[in-house]
């Protein structure tokens, strides 16, 4: 999948889990600093993204995904 295909799906998950409008979920945004998403919500986002995109996002990898763009890149590299 391309980054352009992944972003809207990820934005939907972020909106559902964290109540952030999906229009605000853009690649340069930091999950913690810009979208105010806490560590447990990040786990919920990761679990849903795993199901949706067929990737594994272990907790130690999750810690490296600071921005929405980081997450999109990771999913693009690892999705089957």
């Amino acid at each position: 999948m391309t980054n352009e295909e992944i972003l809207p799906g990820l934005a939907e998950i972020v909106e559902e889990v964290a109540g952030v409008s999906k229009d605000d979920v853009s690649p340069e945004k930091s999950f913690v600093d810009d979208l105010d998403i806490d560590s447990l919500s990040m786990v919920e986002i990761a679990v849903q993204a795993e199901d949706k995109f067929g990737v594994k996002i272990p907790d130690d990898e999750l810690a490296n995904l600071k921005t929405v763009g980081d997450a999109v890149d990771y999913i693009a590299r690892n999705s089957s």
Binding site: D38, S39, L40, M42, V43, E44, A46, V47, D59, L62
Partner: protein
């Protein structure tokens, strides 16, 4: 070799929960109280873990003293006296001493003479493990009347300056009396462990405080536990729609709600009542399930005879759940 035949178990046809009681310490600790010494605030705690206030035991209160109070209430409701109780099981992971175990100490306080007695350490799953053992004891004939207590003084094992854990854990006790029954009142246990996650919650030695890897535990609890609860329902020959009340271990309100959502989407009724006692009790580990159920009952949210689905999970990591009829 002797040809003598060992007689099969000859206990009661079934088991039931005949009485329930709980004890919470008097001291209420709000999030604002904790924020006086911790870098936290009420809004942060409510959104992260769902707790508004919790109870802390006083210096003279212990796993044994709190457990004995809860036990006496359960015995009174069941209509049994100390002379009737022939086994005492205590689920706890916070006893300050290795020996003697808590069960004989609680038996002594209540005047229960010569019961079978032991403690179960399955951390936050301990109550459900203990309920399986208690039910089997009356079915086998090993006992007729079992007192099962979940009691914890977690504040002895939490670093009060650790803002991740000091906001979550609390103290309290819950107890049930399990007796024989002609009609089964306790379903088979669904249990297991995640041995690959053994270090994610621990108290490594007696000089240490509780440590947990929050994200790993949260992921596990929100994904692995609902299927175990479903399995427990099926093992009892019921459907999820037969469950009236869900009482999970009160770990974190977001975990409670995630498990409930999954069970409703898997077939539990939309009007499934869900224990959310963590909001005003905090996380009391092995005590949380009986405390939550008794408080729901007191609030009129659960009636006698309704089907309770209990599911405990926590350090180990280990888990256990079963259905039973509410006393």
């Amino acid at each position: 070799m002797s040809g003598a035949v060992i007689r099969p178990a000859q206990g009661a046809p079934g088991a039931r929960v005949a009485g329930l009681g709980h004890y919470r310490p008097d001291r209420v600790v709000t999030n604002d109280d904790l924020a006086q010494t911790l870098d936290t605030n009420d809004e942060w705690v409510r959104t992260r873990v769902g707790i508004q206030e919790r109870r802390f035991a006083g210096p003279d209160e212990s796993v044994v003293s709190m457990g004995a109070i809860a036990a006496a209430k359960a015995m009174a409701e069941a209509g049994v006296t100390a002379a009737d109780v022939d086994a005492v099981i205590v689920a706890t992971c916070t006893l300050p001493t290795q020996i003697p175990h808590a069960a004989t100490q609680i038996a002594g306080r209540l005047g229960i003479h010569a019961p079978g007695s032991f403690d179960v350490n399955a951390a936050c799953a301990g109550f459900c493990y203990g309920l399986e053992v208690a039910a089997q004891a009356v079915r086998s004939g090993a006992a007729t009347t079992v007192l099962l207590v979940g009691s914890e003084k977690l504040t002895d094992w939490v670093d009060p300056t650790d803002r991740a854990n000091a906001i979550i854990f609390a103290d309290g006790a819950g107890a049930v009396v399990v007796t024989g029954a002609d009609t089964e009142g306790v379903g088979p246990v669904a249990w297991g462990s995640a041995e690959d996650l053994t270090e994610t919650i621990n108290i490594p030695d007696r000089a240490s405080f509780i440590h947990q890897e929050g994200q790993s535990v949260f992921r596990w609890a929100t994904t692995a536990i609902a299927p175990v609860a479903e399995r427990a329902v099926r093992m009892a020959g019921l459907e999820l729609a037969d469950v009236d009340v869900l009482v999970t271990h009160q770990a974190n309100l977001r975990i409670v709600d995630a498990i409930a959502r999954k069970l409703v989407s898997a077939g539990a009724r939309d009007d499934l009542r869900v224990a959310r006692d963590i909001v005003t009790t905090g996380n009391t580990s092995s005590a949380s399930i009986p405390v939550a159920l008794d408080r729901m009952r007191a609030a009129g949210e659960v009636a006698s005879g309704e089907v309770v689905l209990a599911i405990g999970f926590g350090a180990g990591l280990t888990y256990a759940g079963q259905v039973f009829r509410c006393p």
